[in-house]
Amino acid sequence: MSEFAPVAESTWLDASLAAALFLVDPIGTGVALRAAAGPVRDQWLSLVRDSIPAATPWRRLPIHVTDARLLGGLDLTATLNSGKPVVEAGVLAEADAGVLLIAMAERVSSSTAARITAVMDAGGVVRERDGFASRSAARFGVIALDEGADADECPPEGLVDRLAFHVNLEGIALRDAIADFPDAADFAKAREQVAFVEVPDTAVAALCAAALALGISSLRASVQAVRVARANAALEGRTIVGDADAAVAARLVLAPRATRWPPQDQAEDEASNTPEDPGDAEAHGDDGDSAKAPDSSDEIVLDAARAAIPPGILAQLLNGGRLRVRTGKSGKSGALQRSARRGRAVGVRSGTPRSGATLHIVETLRAAAPWQRLRRSVGGSASAARIEVRAEDFRVMRHKHRTETTTIFVVDASGSSALNRLAEAKGAVELLLADCYARRDRVALIAFRGATAELLLPPTRSLVRAKRRLAGLPGGGGTPLACGIDAAVELAATVRRGGRTPIAVLLTDGKANVGRDGIGGRARAEEQAFAAARSARESNLATLLVDTSPQPQPQAVRLAAEMGANYLALPYADAGSLSRAVRDRTADLRRVQ
């Protein structure tokens, strides 16, 4: 998974500036803070914490928060005490007018994230739960704490997209974490002023142009940049946004999201052109005033953004590769599904909360509710309990647990067999994806060729993403079979950690000729391939080996034996029959698992 670029690191100065601007306009901005838990992060958080007004709510959202706590619901204690239903607010509503801290945001499930973002968009919580409909205001600033260890571990994209600042504290030592910070009085003043700061059209145009030049598609980034520019102006005591404010916004909001290096040459031949795509500039050059910004502010803004793109990423951008800071992978909630008692709740059934079943209290109360009068009058019991719950009222959660399967395709994309087999493998992946919604399975694709193996498609259920990734898969070069198998084993381990069952489908002719270190040599390469195969077997990876050569190959047969894999010779398979065969065989494997 070497393809993932490191996330941009920011300096402490920028990080503390982001904290200051967040304090000026918490609801309009928001921070995604990438850092391991530690003194530097604490230092940053205390900047914010110490400067918020005294009574401001500060709520920390735990990772495995239930809907009842997140959105609110029936407050059971109060309900039982008072004998009538009492609704509790939930964390999001409690954070109203304050700050919501999302702990371990990289592990927040996409469904939790969707609930949070819906509340952020609506400015309030709409509850349709536990027999009640209620709504309450919830406008808060979000700080998402992202402790992701590697680049593909990051918070759900829908959440990050709504946060203006993407601050990365990795690589900052505590001794560097010193900077001037405005005091509380400055913030109070800036907060009052911020709504009155004017943003001239030129500044909006410059920020939009910079976003476009940096390849930032989401319009939210531009909207946030405008708000950040305004916050900066307010903090500096200006009543109108100037170039310096826009430059700060570009540096803090736009630069960390850059997906491409802005067209360089235009920076040099200044004064004549806006720094957007040359074609665009021509097409819209006469499109009215809004498009025409004085070049100077455009240049200043874009330069600021350009300067803030860190050098490591710069190299990658200049190499022509699109930067993928965010891989679009949602947070991982796999651990949740590991226990047999977990899984998705699909309703309740009557039963006793023994044998580990969870009691569904609300449903139990609901079941008991209609009988209360009757029970009291018939039983004549003068019990102190306000609600009489009997055994037949017990309702327990019904869970639907099924192991999701992730099918990992490992495709030999090397010279000889590559081109046609590759097309078939792509087709098979897409065919399998097309019906995977119903099965809730995922598909991943690793290709190996030349010197290494590459994860082309991280586990996904999205056909859209799959097609995009598959479109540009090249073929040709040597056969680093060992690398391919290693990559599959590694990915399988990740998949297992996520609580899913991996199944590998290896498409190859078994003729390895490149070793793990990327150096040629058939004998050594084959030896390493067999070693890798054995490690795959040791890791208990269920594998289907599809022999793609015209005649069944002894190497492939032996490889399958070493791997403990099912062997399938499919010399002239097209995508359709390949996907059918894979589906049938993996169904067998699934049963064995």
Binding site: G83, A114, E128, D201, C208, S217, V346, L365, A369, P370
Partner: protein
């Protein structure tokens, strides 16, 4: 809760706005699915539509907002309240806003279908039915943001109710049925996952939205959004006349709808188009013709012609194509190709 962004102030996204207006003109078109990039104003548009819709007449005190003029769709309570021999007009009614009900993620099944009124049960020991979201959405719109993240068991409920137009509740000893006819509006990001084919099929129109790539449009979007965030009231006031004009147009379109003629030639065209695309079932054709008719009514035309069919072909058919993963062209392009072939370009 808070003031909504005005519908007429939404920059671009013409196909999405058109689809929503068509659905508002003729509910029988059957709902709109909006799929696309993040931050393109999907949910903004749907919520804005709520403020745009003209009010409707509903029976006073009816939990389902029954239409007093449509005797067939009355709920049991309203029906029994009708004096013998009298029509529904005898019921007391008033103008109410058309419901646009949000189905929030995390909604529990009891709130969606309705359940025992827990408050009355606890306090008075009575067994009473408390209508859910489906009841509230009757005669209006049911909006599901992030529809592809909706839990399966809720999808099942929705499919069933949307198909029958009636919600049947059998739980906790309650046995209730009530009308639930609503226009389903869903939005989502395709990267979050695919939609179940059965649910996909329930949507009459489907639109794909993309982030605008040209600078002037992007500037305008950012500008308006920023203006709105700073002063929602002032912004809404600025656009209220345009919204009002659009609302009038919508009312006129509804009045005109039943008079719009669909000539046999147009029917043949629609059938040929669906045939050449190989869409499953008759729903595609039906939606295509209905959407074209609604569009004609909206444009003030007396009859449906090629221009109408052409404009609604993509939203009416693109999600009904049999998926062919090996064809790299997206379904939108396939529809466009077929349209160009049939109508000439």
């Amino acid at each position: 809760m808070s003031l909504q962004f005005p519908f007429s102030a939404i920059v671009g996204q013409d196909e999405m706005k058109l689809a929503l207006l068509i659905a508002a003109t003729d509910a029988s078109v059957g709902g709109v699915l909006v799929f696309g990039d993040r931050g393109t104003g999907k949910s903004t548009a749907v919520r804005a539509l709520a403020a745009l819709l003209p009010k409707m007449r509903a029976v006073v005190g009816c939990a389902y907002g029954c239409d007093p003029t449509a005797i067939d769709t009355l709920c049991d309570q309203c029906r029994s309240a009708c004096r013998p021999g009298k029509r529904g007009e005898s019921l007391e009614s008033r103008l109410v806003p058309v419901p646009v009900v949000d189905l929030p993620l995390g909604a529990t099944e009891d709130r969606v279908v309705g359940a025992l009124d827990i408050e009355r049960a606890l306090a008075r020991g009575e067994k009473a039915f408390e209508p859910g979201l489906l009841a509230r959405a009757h005669r209006g719109f049911l909006y599901i943001d992030e529809v592809n993240l909706l839990e399966d068991h809720l999808v099942d409920v929705l499919l069933d109710v949307a198909a029958s137009g009636e919600n049947v509740v059998e739980r906790e000893g309650l046995s209730v049925r009530h009308p639930a006819r609503f226009v389903l509006v869903g939005s989502g990001n395709p990267e979050e996952g695919e939609l179940r084919p059965q649910l996909l099929d329930r949507f009459g129109l489907s639109v794909e939205v993309k982030t605008p790539e040209d600078l002037p449009t992007r500037i305008e979007v950012v500008r308006r959004r920023d203006d709105f965030d700073r002063g929602p009231q002032a912004f809404a006031a600025k656009w209220s006349r345009k919204d009002a004009a659009l609302r009038r147009k919508l009312v006129e379109a509804r009045d005109r709808l039943s008079d719009v003629r669909v000539p046999d030639a147009a029917l043949t065209r629609a059938a040929t188009l669906c045939l050449s695309l190989g869409t499953d079932g008759l729903r595609g054709e039906l939606t295509l013709v209905r959407a074209a008719r609604a569009l004609a009514a909206f444009d003030g035309d007396a009859q449906v012609d090629d221009s109408h069919l052409r404009r609604v072909a993509a939203p009416a058919l693109r999600h009904r194509l049999r998926r062919n993963p090996l064809d790299d062209a997206g379904s939108t392009i396939r529809v466009e190709r077929a349209v160009a072939e049939l109508f000439g370009s």
